[in-house]
């Protein structure tokens, strides 16, 4: 299919259609309202269901009901809206429901601002709801990757019967880039024949989709079943990308999402000055590419790591955790909707290496 110039939010919406998803529930919030606006005209063309809910609390719970049919369902929102969905996320994880969510992050805490941010790392990766559970978390760095990961997200959600959240900063939603969609779109999957979806107790015992287990042994059993899925994800689903990683590198940067692209520019420019820096970009934030990060950090040429984020430092806790103190980890970040520039990152690297301009 020919490349199209598309805004990130609209490309995400179209990607859901390409994945065979026809069920969308959402509440307007900047900077991702274009998804709902796009699907409001696009879904009628493909026979989709869109309900504009009364709140994000309702959205999350509509997803619970919709996912229980065994059909593909998704929502998109931004930080404060995602906060309101934490209740449902906990319930859906506990009930083993496949559902896809997109968080186009804006600055917080509270109402914060509407500009790009990566301040919801803790909420997504460590989870904001109660109980022993995890979301699978994907972090695209380009609009094309948002499309590709969106399609993958539905497969992963079904494979593990677990909520999958794609997080992008406001730039991913707002910027326009050339994107390509699959030649052939997936057809919506029929839930008939599913061994867990609620299709009516015809010729079989009733099925129950729930997260309630009053018997502590049953609840522990459910939590262990979840833990087993997360173990499997850690084994099979870790995704990351290396950029200009070589045995010449003095510093290894770690950044995700669009922040990683800005780091790439800094790396290219430092290269012209003879300063060699590599980048590890996690694509899955849960499961985290911890082993891969440790292996790169342990290389003898690496003097230090630099974690760069659009926050005051959240992912750095995982970078430190996985590198186990093998190398010093430094941090550079801006927050509140301010995006670090390549120059700021370059200055930080020079400072780390005691190199004067």
């Amino acid at each position: 299919m020919a490349k199209k110039l598309m805004k990130g939010n609209e490309a995400i919406a179209e990607a859901a259609i390409a994945a065979g998803c026809r069920n969308y529930f959402a509440y307007p919030i900047t900077p991702q309202s274009e998804v709902a606006e796009y699907l409001s005209w696009r879904f009628p063309e493909v026979g989709g269901v869109f309900v504009q809910a009364e709140s994000e609390v309702a959205v999350g719970n509509m997803l619970f009901g919709a996912a229980s049919t065994g059909k593909r369902v998704f929502t998109t929102s931004s930080s404060p809206g995602i906060s309101l969905m934490q209740e449902a996320l906990s319930y859906m994880a506990g009930a083993h429901l496949p559902v896809v969510l997109v968080n186009i992050m804006r600055g917080g805490p509270g109402l914060g601002g509407i500009l790009p941010s990566q301040a919801d790392y803790f909420q997504s990766v460590k989870t904001g709801g109660h109980g022993d559970y995890h979301l699978m978390v994907l972090a695209p760095s380009t609009v094309q990757e948002a499309v590709d990961l969106m399609i993958l997200a539905f497969d992963l959600a079904e494979k593990y019967r677990n909520p999958v959240m794609m997080i992008g900063d406001g730039m991913i939603g707002q910027m326009m880039e050339a994107v390509e969609f699959p030649e052939k779109y997936s057809e919506p999957v029929s839930p008939e024949g599913s061994d867990w979806a609620l299709t009516g107790a015809k010729g079989r015992k009733p099925r129950i989709v729930r997260s309630l287990f009053l018997d502590p042994e049953k609840l522990e059993e459910n939590s262990l079943a979840l833990a087993e899925k997360y173990k499997k994800m850690r084994e099979d689903e870790v995704r990351h990308e290396l950029y200009k990683v070589s045995d010449k590198n003095r510093v290894l940067m770690v950044a995700y999402g669009t922040m990683a692209r800005i780091c790439q520019t800094a790396i290219d420019e430092l290269e012209t000055e003879g300063i060699s820096v590599g980048l590890l970009r996690p694509i899955t934030l849960f499961p985290y590419p911890g082993k891969e990060l440790y292996a790169e950090a342990a290389k003898p040429n690496i003097e230090a790591l630099l974690d760069v984020e659009m926050s005051v430092g959240q992912m750095i806790e995982d970078v430190e955790r996985f590198t186990k103190g093998i190398k010093p980890v430094e941090f550079y970040g801006r927050t509140g909707g301010i995006v670090p520039t390549p120059n700021e990152i370059k200055d930080k690297i020079r400072e780390m290496l005691n190199i004067k301009k």
């Binding site: 015809k202 009733p206 129950i208």
Partner: protein
Amino acid sequence: MSTEATTIFKRPEALQEVITHYCPGCTHGVIHRLVAESLDELGVRERTVGVAPVGCSVLAYNYFNVDFMEAAHGRAPALATGFKRCRPDMIVFTYQGDGDLASIGMGEIVHAANRGEKFTTIFVNNAIYGMTGGQMAPTTMPGQKTTTTPAGRDVEQFGYPIRMAELLSSLRTPAFIARVAVHTPMHAINAKKVIKKAFRLQKEHKCFSLVEVLSTCPTNWGMNPFDATKWVTSDMQPYYPLGIYKDPEREET
């Protein structure tokens, strides 16, 4: 005349053959049965999905012989909306108490009704939080003693009980809204007709339907079952009048 025995009364197919956990004198069991009979008689059991609330009927999925979802507190109408929009060919009902529907779930029920979602809500109003041990509900009567209003509900502090059937009837969107009771055989027989109609309207893809059922809670009211049924008549019915509040087959104004 045939000498063969004829079954004239049996457990509805839509109920499982189990003993419920409900207290003696509680009318949840009667309401479950009326719902189950309606599903059987309409021939929809095999394509029905129920949504259980948080409250005394949290375990309703163990009693009905249909597929079920267990919702977060108050969110059953949102689950039902999501399910029904994806599967309009199926029959969906929520079964909710007064704390679940009229307090924490007020937003979800009002908006589901206003969108005209084509599912059925059975709203069990017993004027108290049962499962958590008898705290004040939004439907607790003025002066009624609960564990959080030991001196009786003070309307100066907490306002008056919410009349959900009336409140939802004020919405312009067509719907079937009724209030019934089940504390006497006569009331239960009438309640059955109303509940069955609510499900029939859903089966015909007509409208949202909600049946508020006045129920008893002898345990938390501090009464014996007989006195509890009398209290429904003496104290609840005057404030919560029975009747059909909104009916798409009778209107429109």
